[in-house]
Symmetry: C2
Subunit: 226 residues, 2 copies
DNA sequence: AATCCATTCAAACGCTTGTTTCAATCAACT
DNA sequence: AGTTGATTGAAACAAGCGTTTGAATGGATT
């Protein structure tokens, strides 16, 4: 936005905290990247810790603006809503067209919560979780316990998260593939079909790319392609 | 095993590296926990980095011994094999009856690979991956591409991993539940059914606990209960 | 022009880090 | 008993850390 020292510090801090983690990142390195004096951190913020929290808060704000939730046509089939949401999740995570450190920073926070965690959960995770659960509830039978609905939701998110967090290992394991990452759409299709089939709301198609009938080649505009 | 200084250093290092990460862990803290002199690290190893690598290598050795692969009766149904393997995975991760830092250390390495990563993948991940893929191949139709088989495997592992890595968030999100973690068997049942249903190799049961018919109340001895 | 206030800057603070040094120790072998 | 070689010990090392200080800067207000 504006090119103040404070803003440049937040951006630089976010990038370096995300890359190296809190402890390994140094004030001096951050200030060098931000083209600011070392004392600026303790002037504009209350110290390293406060700068970190500010960076996390800023990250989730940006990320929400970047890839907003899709506005579902109210009559869109629940299965297509699911595909759209999963598409957004993948796009928020793997799409390379924006600084990667926003998501990275938040995931660090979620895996090892500090004081900034509750903010991330309330402002970022919870809305997404609510949306997912609402969609799933349209697809699920009525006689399930809340606990079961949670687990189904977790199984869905888990797949998306896995492809982000463990991308390096995936490439090492698959090695036959020439180091190239799997296409984003293919992943979203797979996760959607896998999930739908698991809850009995779709054909037992096992993976993307070979849909036996045209029954489920959903392709929904995911957010802001145009 | 033996109570040498070297071994005590590896144990202490593993625990602290797992808890705090490489950068945040200090030699002095490790040595204090190991009841060793600070110089011992540079005497028995070549420095902090080498101690870290040694700890990672030791961790995977132990973990393999702790919860070995189940010896499947050769005629065990593939679906039950899957349940058994998923049970072992959960047990290796969430079972509290052993020092937790082994797995923790390896996951840190996998999420952010350093020089010790290839060893972890080759010695620990690959065997598990091969076993899983062998079981899945028995359940899957023959006309799938390798890529599709990989994705199905990933979707399976992802669910298990999720419940470990994001346990803190899960508790915050579910909050209705009184902070108590979900029972291990319930998780393993859910993941197994979810996966089987997704690939069309099981009833479209949606979650654990409400199997409509007795058709799939698999319960396999997972490893070394007796 | 003078005052004020926010901001920047270079330097130093005290502290902790990983590593090195070298004397002290101890068991084993001649 | 004496010597050797491996191990431990306390202290010091230079380097980096987060933070603080107090003077310099620059633009707006009086």
């Amino acid at each position: 936005m504006v090119d103040t020292t404070k803003q440049r510090l937040i951006d630089a801090a976010g990038a370096i905290f995300a890359e190296k983690g809190y402890e390994a990142a140094s004030i001096r390195e951050i200030c060098q990247l931000a083209d600011a004096n070392i004392a600026a951190v303790n002037y504009h913020f209350a110290g390293k810790r406060a700068l970190y929290v500010a960076a996390v808060r800023h990250a989730q704000c940006c990320r929400q603006e970047d890839v907003p939730f899709p506005e579902f046509p109210p009559d869109l089939a629940p299965a297509d809503q699911l595909r759209a949401l999963i598409g957004v999740m993948f796009e928020r995570m793997l799409s390379p067209h924006r600084p990667q450190w926003h998501l990275e920073l938040m995931l660090r926070e979620l895996a090892r919560p500090t004081e900034a965690c509750v903010a991330v959960v309330d402002d970022y995770i919870r809305p997404m979780s609510d949306t997912l659960r609402a969609i799933l509830n349209q697809l699920l039978p009525a006689d399930l316990t809340e606990e079961q609905r949670w687990m189904i939701g977790f199984s869905t998110v888990a797949q998306v998260l896995f492809y982000y967090t463990h991308q390096p290992i995936i490439r090492v394991l698959m090695q036959s593939r020439d180091g190239e990452a799997l296409p984003l759409d293919q992943l979203a299709d797979h996760v959607t079909r896998f999930t739908l089939a698991a809850i009995g709301a779709g054909p037992v198609v096992v993976a993307a790319g070979v849909s036996p009938a045209g029954s489920h080649s959903v392709k929904v505009a995911s957010g802001r392609d145009a």
